[in-house]
């Protein structure tokens, strides 16, 4: 057991005779901001599901926060934070109620929940909207709140699945500052995104094509390797090289 936040070796998942994830191997160090990129259908979602303990691998191994994904999926679920674009908060509850709900789910004592609720609401500037339904909040506020809730139980690693989709450019960047802050205090961030400029914000990133990892390294390394100026160009070169329809 090492102290890598995420460790995958030959991680594979097959569905019938279709191989969605084909023996991927990579590591994410503690406190790193790791970008996990790939086109739709490249296998990203399946890989994340395996890492978060939601799906059993067909072969290979992986550990998250020191727990084996195959034998300790429940321990994993307890020690990670998760936020996806599709599901984060309950729209028909207030921010306060959402925080209380998740605090309870993560098993935090009630006094602790109260303390963190106040702290969180103040830091996000949501005190005035604390008791309004989440459905009425602007998208940007929802994203930020969802992220904070994912961190409520102070996990070692947080998985963010396209967290900034559709959000305005200012809020997007404010969101990334929150990610940086979390990373600075030791939380590892595992992020997927369709915004290529956000890929540049990561310490290291990987790009999946057709179930395999086609690129792994810092943004600078990848750009140099492919002789291009932006991660988008790296992406385009890798994606074009792949088989199948576009």
């Amino acid at each position: 057991m090492n102290d890598a936040a995420v460790r995958a070796r030959g991680l594979t998942r097959r569905f019938g005779d279709f191989t969605a994830v084909d023996a991927i191997t990579f590591e994410v160090a503690a406190g790193e901001v790791f970008g996990f990129l790939g086109a739709n259908g490249a296998g990203k979602t399946t890989a994340i599901r395996m890492l978060t303990g939601l799906l059993r691998p067909t072969s290979g191994e992986a550990s998250v926060a020191g727990h084996d994904v195959r034998t300790e999926p429940d321990a994993i679920k307890r020690s990670i934070g998760y936020m996806s674009q599709r599901f984060s908060l309950y729209e028909d509850l207030t921010p306060r109620e959402n925080i209380r709900l998740y605090g309870g789910i993560y098993g935090l004592p009630r006094s602790e929940i109260r303390r963190r609720t106040d702290h969180l609401l103040e830091r996000l500037g949501l005190v005035s909207a604390a008791d309004e339904l989440v459905a009425g909040l602007p998208l940007g506020w929802k994203q930020k709140l969802a992220f904070s809730v994912a961190l409520l139980h102070e996990p070692d690693i947080v998985f963010l699945d396209e967290p900034t989709g559709g959000v305005d450019p200012v809020t997007r960047r404010q969101f990334w500052e929150m990610i940086y802050e979390a990373a600075a205090s030791g939380t590892t961030a595992f992020v997927t995104t369709h915004y290529m400029d956000e890929a540049e914000y990561c310490d290291r990133l990987s790009i999946m094509v057709s179930g395999r990892i086609a690129a792994l390294g810092t943004p600078e390394e990848l750009k140099r390797e492919h002789g291009v100026d932006s991660i988008e160009d790296v992406f385009v070169r890798l994606a074009r090289g792949g088989p199948e329809d576009s």
């Binding site: 086109a39 998208l139 305005d168 990373a183 290529m196 988008e232």
Partner: protein, 309 residues
């Protein structure tokens, strides 16, 4: 110069949200016109009104000379529309979808083949495949083919590239420019700022209001303040250090670098670069790379958002 779209003071609210708070603009015939803005800006509501799917609360909109409310049926024959999410039939094949939409407009795929060929040819090999089994990029091409099959005089495409990978997005915009070159008027919306460069003119939309309308190149000129790109060292620490400086108007991460805007509108960019480099070196960032840059659409958008707030 013929105007295909004329919108005046359009207002639309839902319960207590104001989706459009008084929008006015014009689109010339044969133009590739883009609406850039994040979710909730009002893009979908605007497009639905222009496609006669919704009536505005106040204001007026004319497309091809027809009023969107009073001349609804005349417009529905002439407009090509692609809504924000995939809205074709996943259990029908590519060809079946296309034939259906052709028949609804009283025509056939065969009759329209030459017109839609530039786009349709790319997915023709998959004509028998079920639409639900297509990749994101191919779905968009199919949707575009279906929108074109009845020879519309104008196209309204609501976020056609959302959720599609970077390669397909590029290809899609190539196709749009090709259609524009053939004389079709196209009105597109997108949350991706970099796609704005592909349009003839762009309207920046946020919170139900238009912040500015102009050609992409011209937009940068309205920035009004010096803009510098800064790189080097720990990004997060660099960000905080820059924010501490006395004349900082804003600092935002932009890809690999940070965009620093200085509050002194008249300052010479080159001199500022030197000043900044020195200040950063003093703060412990010895190898900071500082250079003046031209603002792109995203810079402009964010500055306008801040000003409007």
């Amino acid at each position: 110069m013929k105007t295909d779209v004329v919108v005046r003071d359009l207002v639309r609210t839902f319960d207590d949200t104001t989706a459009l708070a008084g929008v006015s603009f014009e689109v010339a015939a044969g133009e590739l016109f883009g609406f850039i803005g994040p979710d909730g800006a009002g893009k979908t509501t605007l497009f639905r009104i222009l496609a006669t799917l919704m009536a505005p609360d106040r204001g007026s909109a004319e497309v091809l000379g027809y009023d969107v409310v009073d001349d609804m049926w005349a417009l529905r024959r002439r407009v090509g529309y692609m809504p924000g999410r995939f809205s074709l039939y996943p259990d029908l094949s590519v060809l079946e979808n296309l034939s259906f939409f052709a028949s609804v407009f009283g025509t056939t795929v065969a009759r329209q083949y030459d017109r839609i060929a530039p786009i349709y040819r790319q997915i023709e090999p998959f004509a028998a495949r079920r639409a639900g089994a297509l990749s994101g990029g191919m779905k968009q091409k199919l949707a575009l083919s279906c929108a074109l099959v009845h020879e519309p005089e104008i196209l309204f495409l609501d976020e056609p590239t959302t959720g599609v990978d970077a390669v397909s997005r590029r290809e899609f915009w190539d196709m749009l420019q090709g259609l524009r070159d053939d004389g079709l008027t196209i009105v597109v919306s997108t949350p991706y700022m970099d796609e704005a460069d592909r349009c003839d003119r762009v309207a920046l939309l946020d919170g139900g209001r238009i912040l500015r309308i102009d050609a992409p190149a011209a937009l940068g000129r309205t920035y009004g303040r010096p803009l510098l790109a800064v790189r080097g060292g720990d990004r997060y620490r660099l960000l905080k250090a820059l924010r501490e400086l006395p004349h900082t108007a804003s600092v935002y991460p932009f890809g690999a670098s940070l965009h620093y805007t200085d509050a002194r509108a008249d300052a010479a960019p080159e001199a500022l670069a030197v000043e900044l480099r020195d200040a950063l070196a003093a703060a412990g960032f010895a190898d900071a790379d500082v250079r003046p840059i031209e603002p792109d659409i995203e810079d402009v958008f964010m500055a306008l958002m801040g000003a409007a707030a």
